[in-house]
């Protein structure tokens, strides 16, 4: 695999293997697309019947799937939850990262709070889910508002760690200069520190958005009784209604995948950077 780096030619063996390997990514997507466009009558029992291109590229499956799974409402819920959760995470977690990052070295209280929150990373959702289902119901939060609040709490350990780590690189001198001009700490934060942390905001936004968008468990446990769905939750809840009409089911799967695919195509670079930054730091 590791061809000598001295030669400047294209590594042909690697190229061929990579192209072949790509089939493992493309095949499931191809399968999804062709089945989503076909009619049940085209699905003969043979492999070729399943894998051949559809006779016509009709959108009727998608139309029906949208009705069955209440697509637009689920999409709206998913977008709302993701956008608000990401926005709140950036504001709340960066503030917390700032307060803890600037004080944890010299104050016992802040270093304790920092450790307390960051160690929340080890708490699996499994232990929280039953008490949280009860608690959110008691508080009248068994809905999308509760789900958003929970995301802000769940991703706090990771994001606070990222923000306070990034803050180490921002010299105190910047803040002190503003202080001389008489600006308050609060103002200094929003005017100087918050804009400087922009690369970290991008990382946090990508990581939080991907996790929230694809999460099943939290809405499943918290929103189950609210009659509302997110996109993944709709797939789970309407699975039984598809029956053996796989064409309808796959049209619905494809619909559920399209928003994130579009997002990925547009922001691929930011997503890759965000994911790497989040993991490596």
């Amino acid at each position: 695999m590791t061809k000598k780096n001295a030669d400047t030619h294209t590594n042909k063996v690697a190229m061929v293997l990579l192209i072949l390997g790509l089939s493992t990514i493309i095949f499931p997507l191809y399968l999804t697309i062709v089945i989503a466009f076909k009619q049940p009558s085209e699905m003969t029992n043979s492999i070729s019947g399943i894998l051949s291109l559809p006779k016509s590229w009709s959108l009727s499956n998608f139309k029906e799937a949208m009705e069955v799974t209440d697509f637009w409402r689920s999409l709206k819920n998913s977008l709302l939850i993701t956008l608000v959760a990401v926005g709140l995470s950036i504001i709340i977690h960066s503030l917390m990262g700032y307060a803890l990052g600037r004080n944890k070295a010299k104050s016992k209280f802040y270093s304790f709070v920092y450790l307390f929150i960051v160690s929340g990373m080890f708490v699996p959702f499994a232990i929280l889910m039953m008490p949280l289902a009860k608690q959110t119901a008691e508080m009248g939060l068994a809905n999308w508002v509760g789900v958003i609040l929970l995301y802000v709490v769940f991703y706090m350990p990771m994001n606070v760690l990222l923000y306070s780590g990034y803050l180490v690189n921002i010299p105190m001198a910047l803040e002190e200069a503003a202080k001389v001009d008489g600006a308050s700490t609060w103002r200094t934060y929003w005017k100087i520190i918050f804009p400087i942390m922009r690369p970290m905001h991008a990382t946090v936004a990508v990581l939080t958005a991907l996790s929230v968008w694809n999460d099943v468990m939290t809405p499943l446990v918290i929103m189950a009784g609210s009659g509302q769905n997110t996109l993944p939750l709709a797939q789970l809840n309407f699975q039984s209604q598809f029956g053996t009409n796989y064409n309808l089911a796959f049209a619905s799967y494809l619909l559920a995948l399209i928003p994130i695919l579009i997002f990925y195509i547009i922001c691929q670079k930011q997503i890759l950077n965000g994911v790497v930054n989040g993991a490596v730091k």
């Binding site: 889910m129 709490v153 099943v216 993991a279």
Partner: protein
């Protein structure tokens, strides 16, 4: 004047920290404590309940279904971690070598990671149920001619494949960023000493990317131990309860099976297991890094 400003700074930090900490305690610490409290009761999820002391914990260790779920989850986590890391290392080396259309390949190979695990699971469910058996029949492979998801001793392999398919995307990207930290001249110097191919990888490349290897191990093990969506989409714990992950069992029996108290005890044990595994991994990888 200076004193006033110092106080103002202190106050601002407190005003930021206290409400956010309160939010965290309200939705993380308090439910955690409540979970521990429930684990000492025979609560069904509704109605009255009594204290039962450590009875749930005693029952836990003699419960065959719980034992089976731990065995399944660890088997899945370990095998998936090994498979994922071996394949992603190979893939990362390929993607980091001198190839054309580098960014296209990297983008394409990362794609599985952004897709929702539940929908991916449904797509693979169809693949394992209809496509794979049909292909196996055509090729005359008897062992695969019926769906592996309905075979109690093989269903976990299907889940492993789906877990790995998505995790490889993530791990590869991390390995690539590791490989990019290895300076060219290390290879040049190694080349003079005759370190090429496997030797080069084993003695030069791999030691230099150990920190990235550690990150991937921690990420993989933690995520795989908490596996849930894939189970939901592929097997719902079946056949014959052979693929019930710990999270799935806690969800299924705790939320709707009337075992709120008992599964709370299971969740407490699971929490302790996760902490032990994570701390052990971090200790191990930091000692490895020090050696270098």
């Amino acid at each position: 004047m200076k004193e006033v400003m110092k106080n103002e700074r202190k106050r601002t930090f407190l005003l930021i920290t206290i409400p956010i900490l309160a939010l965290f305690i309200c939705f993380n610490t308090i439910p955690l404590i409540r979970g521990v409290i429930y684990s000492f009761t025979n609560f069904k999820g509704f109605g009255k309940y009594n204290w039962v002391g450590f009875q749930n914990y005693i029952d836990l260790f003699s419960d065959a279904r719980v034992g089976k779920s731990y065995w399944f989850t660890f088997k899945l986590a370990i095998v998936s971690t090994v498979v994922t890391n071996v394949l992603s290392l190979i893939l990362a080396l390929g993607l980091n070598s001198k190839i054309k259309a580098k960014s296209f390949f990297r983008g394409a190979y990362f794609l599985p990671n952004i897709l929702g695990a539940l929908v991916v699971g449904y797509i693979f469910n169809y693949f394992f149920t209809y496509i794979l058996p049909a292909v196996a029949q055509m090729m005359g492979i008897g062992a695969l001619s019926s769906s592996i998801l309905s075979n109690p001793s093989a269903a976990w392999i299907g889940i492993m494949v789906v877990c790995a398919w998505q995790a490889i995307a993530m791990n590869t990207i991390i390995y690539i960023s590791g490989l990019q930290t290895v300076p060219e001249d290390v290879y040049e110097a190694g080349g003079l000493d005759g370190a090429t191919g496997w030797k080069q990888f084993r003695y030069l490349t791999f030691p230099l990317i150990i920190p990235f290897f550690s990150i991937n191990m921690v990420l993989c093990v933690k995520n795989f131990l908490m596996v849930f969506d894939q189970i939901m989409a592929l097997t719902k714990g079946g056949p014959a309860q052979s693929t019930e992950s710990i999270s799935y069992l806690i969800y299924n029996n705790g939320m709707s099976g009337g075992q709120f108290g008992f599964q709370s005890a299971n969740a407490v044990v699971f929490f302790i297991v996760i902490v032990i595994v994570s701390v052990a991994q971090m200790k191990f990888s930091s000692s490895k890094e020090e050696q270098l």
